[in-house]
Each structure stands twice: as C-alpha cells, then as structure tokens.
C-alpha cells in the first residue's frame, strides 16, 4: 500500500518536474537539448522503487526521470538545467549528464547505449567487493541495436553480475519507428542469446513494472545473475523538446497512434487504480500534487537565484 503511494509519488514528481522543464524550454530559458520522460514514468519509478539508496542506476539522454525516481533533488537538477553553479554538476553537465553519486545515480549519458557498460561495471564492482548491491541500466529500444548493449549483456551474463537491463521500449529512436531498424519486435527475446531471463512488461503499468523488477532484483541480490526487462511504453512528447518546430511538419506518428497512447497515461492509470484500491483519497492525491508542484516551482526559483559558474571554473574538476 505504502509502496504504491511511493511509486505514484515518484511518478508524479517526474511528471510535474518534466512539464515545468518543457515550459521553460519552450520559453527559451534552458540551453542545449532536452529530452523528456513524460509518458514513461512508470518504468523508472517502478524499477527504482525496488532499489536501495546504495544500489546503482545508469541512465540515458532521457534521464531526468531516472534521477528523480532514484531520489534526486529538484533544486540541484533544475539548477543544472539552467547551467548554474549550484547544479548537480556545477553547470558542467546539463540535461544529458546529470548524476548524483550520493544516491547511486551514476549519470545520464548523451551517447545512446553508452551507459550500459558502466552499469555492468558497477555490478561487477558490487560482486567483487562482496556487497549485495544491484545495478540497473536503463536504455531505449534504439540503444538495443548498439554494440555496447550486446557486449554488456553478454559480459554481465558470463560474469553472473547483479544487473538489471531495463529496455524502455517506446517504439521509436528519434523519428524512426523501431520495426524499421530492429530485427525483432520484442527486445526481451534477445536475452536468449545470452542465456539470461528476458521479461516483457507493460511499461505503462507501474505496479507490473515494480513486480518484475522485484523478481529481477531478488535474483540479482541472491547472486543469480542479470535479467533483461523490456518495458513497452511510449513517450507523450517529441524525441526532444522543440521537435515540432524543428521538424516543420515532418510527421512520423499517426493521429491514431497518438490517441491510443494518450489513453494509456501511466499516471492517470495508477491514479485511478489507487482510488479503486482505496490506497488514497482524491484529496490525498490532490495534496500530494500540490506539494510536488510547489517543490518544482521552488526549484525554478532556486535555479534562477543561483549564481552562474565562474569562467575560471573550467579548470576545476579535471584531475584528482
């Protein structure tokens, strides 16, 4: 019960934060690229709700949701997106490189598939140090066609590492539908090529995600090796913010598809379910929403009043 509320809270925190980021981007207030996680919240939240603080996750270019799901701080995130000195990376990282090592969040990653080997290494590290930490690699359907995916999963398999490979299959890599570039419909099938379990889950159903992740985490902690989880999901927005203007009418998702997708909003679905299950009252959830929204607003204020990094700081954080 509490867990469900916990998961929902993580999801809503992601959603409200991301909505705000979208607005800020459209107003031209944020430099660089921004890829939103809106629509995919159930995956990050469902998985991270099974993790301990000292477990590891490695994320993607679409990484805000993972940071928040793992317990990241709005203020330091927002400040980073504004490129401020108070940001997680002192303005050096930005949207695609947010990390919070204090909560085991080992970084977003601008290189598609680039974070997967790192997650395997964190799992190897846990094994060699004799802890029962687990490591989660989030990546997209598109990333599953990178060599790094293949090498990483195989390495984790043969070393029997405590790693969850979580493929967020939103069915697109940028503007290209996955069936055009991926030889298989279900990425989970690829698990067979490494002799590890492959599981498909409805990525819009947070509780289902939580369940399969729990099983995989238990396996990993028990020293039984990695699992490949494929969460079928969708992104509500474009590949990156500003996409519509950028594509100038170049449409790649049909109206039907978009409508179908809207009907499967993971937050709406869980909200409904919670009321049905009596986990929370509408009032509770409304209050929660307000608290979160307030925190998002404050993070913007925090970011705005934060100092810019000093140009000289380019020479800091180089070598230890």
């Amino acid at each position: 019960m509490e867990k469900i509320l916990d998961i929902y809270t993580r999801m809503l925190r992601i959603r409200r934060f991301e909505e705000q980021v979208g607005v800020l981007f459209s107003q031209g207030q944020l430099p660089g690229f921004v890829h939103l996680y809106v629509g995919e919240e159930a995956v990050g939240a469902g998985v991270c709700a099974t993790l301990r603080n000292d477990d590891y996750i490695v994320s993607t270019h679409r990484g805000h949701g993972h940071v928040i799901a793992k317990g990241g701080d709005f203020n330091r995130m927002m400040a980073e997106l504004f490129g401020k000195a108070t940001g997680y990376c002192k303005g050096k990282g930005g949207s695609m490189h947010i990390a919070d090592f204090s909560i085991g969040m080992l970084g977003a990653c601008g290189i598609v598939g680039g974070g997967i080997p790192m997650a395997v290494g964190a799992g190897l590290s846990a094994k060699l140090r004799g802890t029962d930490q687990v490591s989660v690699s989030f990546f997209g359907d598109g990333a599953s066609n990178e060599g790094s995916f293949h090498e990483s999963v195989n390495l984790a398999a043969v070393q029997n590492l405590p790693v969850l490979f979580v493929c967020e299959n939103n069915q697109y890599g940028e503007f290209t539908p996955m069936e055009k570039v991926t030889g298989v419909r279900d990425i989970a099938l690829r698990a067979q090529g490494y002799g590890i379990p492959g599981v498909i889950v409805d990525g819009t159903d947070a509780l289902a995600v939580y369940e399969v992740a729990q099983t995989a985490v238990a396996r990993a902690r028990a020293g039984e090796g990695p699992t490949l989880i494929e969460a079928k999901t969708h992104r509500k927005g474009g590949h990156a913010e500003g996409e519509k203007a950028f594509l100038a009418g170049g449409v790649y998702r049909s109206a039907e598809e978009l409508a179908q997708m809207q009907a499967k909003d993971p937050i709406v679905l869980l909200h409904k379910r919670m009321l049905e299950m009596g986990v929370a009252t509408p009032n509770d959830l409304e209050e929660l929403d307000q608290t979160i929204t307030q925190a998002v607003v404050e993070s913007v204020a925090f970011a705005r009043r934060s100092p810019d990094p000093k140009p000289e700081s380019i020479y800091e954080d180089m070598w230890v």
Partner: protein, 321 residues
C-alpha cells in the same frame, strides 16, 4: 548567387551528386526526416533504396559503408555528431582508410563520412568535442571542414566524387549560418586552401568555426593598424601547406587558431609545420589558440570559456607583433 544556410548547401550538394551519379547513396540514423546535415527531403526524390534510415549502430553502419564502397558504390554515411565517430573509429581507420593500402591497391573505397563537429550550442560533453585531429593523425583519410555554406557545398561535391575515404565535418555552430552560393555545379577541390582576408603583418591559419572568429579578430586588429592575413585550409588533410608557408614568408608571423584540444591538435600541426619549414622567415614565436583541454561543459558561460574566442585570437596576434 543565392544566400543559403549551411544545411541547405549540404542538401543541394547531396541532391545534385545523387542525380549526377546513381551509385551515390546516403545512409544514417534518421536521414529520411533529417536531424542535421541537410538530408531532409532527399527521400522524396531518391526513395528507400538511396536514402536509408539505419539502426543506431555506428560501427556496423560505418563498416557496411566500406563494404558497399569497395564493391562499386559511393556511400555517404551520415553519423550525425563527430563524437559518434568514436564508436565507428575501428571501421573507419582499419577498413575504410586502410583497405586500399593493405590490400596492395586492389580496392578503392570512395566513401564520405559526414558529421557535425565541435561545440558552441551547449550540447554537453558527449556531443561537443571537435574530433578532427584524430582523423588527421590516422593515415590515409582525407579530412574536410568547410567554414561556410558555399565551401560546404563545393567541398562536399568534391568529397563525394573523390575515390578515397573522406571525413566531412560541418562545424556544429555554423549549421544555420548563411552564405552566398555560386549558381550551378559549384565545386571546390579538396586540398586547396583559401585566403579569406589579405594582410601583410601576420598570418592566421584557422578552419571551421574559427575562420569567422579570426576574421572578426582581424577587423579589430586592423583598427590598431595590424593587417592580418586569414587562411582557411578548408581541407585539413591533405592540407594546403604551401599557401600558409608562402604567406608566412611574406608576414614573418604566425598564429594557428583551432577549436580542437591543444595537445596534438590541428593548431599543433600547423605551428610545427610553419616552424619547421618557414623558420627563417619567422620574426616571432608562432602562437597557438586552441580549445581548452577539458571536456565540453554545458553552461554557455563555461563552454564559451573553453572554445577559442575572438579576444584570445587578438591577444595571440599581439603576442607575435
């Protein structure tokens, strides 16, 4: 003459060459809708067979291009960002560049790898590094980095017609920049530099996005009576060292300006060449202006502190006076 953006110039070059030669085809991630390099719209004219959306598989795609090139086609492989070439490096160096030589001349590999290079738009560490020195250092590649839309069109056409592997680098920060483009089959030969501004006092060698900055610096310096000659090699390998050496023979002073990192960067090569081959003409120590030797930071304030600035170019020129 028509004023066009860098991206539009690239698209024109691609379309014209694809019309001219049916063995030319294009492949890469999202080339159909087009992310950057001016590939948008080509699919409508050339269809699935010649405008191919590939998986996100830089190594495999780069290598498949080589296989197509050595068997009679002329692939253009769009890999989007220069930093993604790190993933493809093995196939580019060990297959594309080496095939002809290591097989004793049996093969030729007419292939163009096309990417955005360098920083300037807060794209962060993973997308913003200028990678050209790597490709200048490994053997048997040609490397092109046009500094404006007109050169981009002319050089891309030359690259596509060249029978050797070419790395074609569009400076990321120039994507939307405009220039007058000569009408018709505008062609700029590989390996020929251009004097972008004449001057008698100092020679600057600069490429890509640094050309414009050097020209701005030259204007500022002109007010102090310092006349700077700005040379854009345009092709980084093989490069027009004669043009630079001839200029230094006149000016006796040399500044190398490049966005890539300072150690073993393009500026290192230019400065070393000038000091080795035009030493007797030099009146002062050649100076380098390069990107700072750190990963590209996200914050615009930090990123512009990392990329060479007009002020730094001005200061370097003053050091050689």
């Amino acid at each position: 003459m028509a004023k066009k953006t860098y991206v539009a110039a690239i698209k024109d070059a691609l379309a014209e060459e694809m019309r001219r030669d049916s063995t030319v085809f294009l492949m890469g991630e999202d080339v159909r809708l087009g992310v950057f390099a001016g590939t948008r719209g080509l699919h409508a004219e050339f269809g699935d067979a010649r405008v191919i959306d590939t998986p996100i598989s830089e190594l495999g795609v780069a290598g498949a291009g080589v296989g197509a090139a050595v068997t009679g086609l002329r692939p253009i492989v769009d890999l989007m960002f220069g930093t993604f070439l790190y993933l493809a490096l093995d196939q580019i160096v060990q297959q594309a560049a080496s095939a002809r030589y290591m097989f004793g001349g049996q093969a030729k590999a007419p292939i163009v790898y096309m990417v955005q290079n360098g920083g300037g738009i807060s794209a962060g560490a993973h997308h913003s590094q200028a990678v050209h020195p790597i490709f200048m250092n490994v053997p048997l590649l040609k490397v092109v980095m046009p500094s404006n839309a007109a050169d981009a069109k002319g050089l891309l056409k030359a690259a596509i017609r060249d029978d050797n592997p070419v790395i074609f680098l569009s400076p990321l920060s120039l994507t939307g920049s405009r220039a007058d483009i000569p009408d018709g089959d505008h062609f700029v030969p590989l390996g020929k530099g251009e004097i972008k501004r004449n001057g008698r006092d100092v020679t600057i060698c600069a490429a890509g996005a640094m050309v414009q900055k050097s020209l701005l610096a030259a204007e500022i310096l002109a007010k102090d009576g310092i006349e700077v000659e700005v040379i854009d090699p345009r092709t980084l390998k093989p490069w027009d060292e004669e043009m630079v050496l001839e200029s230094v023979a006149r000016t006796g002073r040399f500044v190398a300006v490049d966005e890539s990192k300072p150690i073993c960067g393009a500026a290192s090569e230019w400065a070393a060449t000038v000091s080795e081959k035009a030493f007797s003409f030099l009146k002062a120590a050649p100076q380098r202006v390069s990107g700072k030797d750190v990963a590209s930071p996200f914050s615009p304030i930090l990123e512009s502190a990392v990329i060479p600035s007009v002020d730094e170019v001005v200061a370097a020129v003053k050091r050689v006076m």
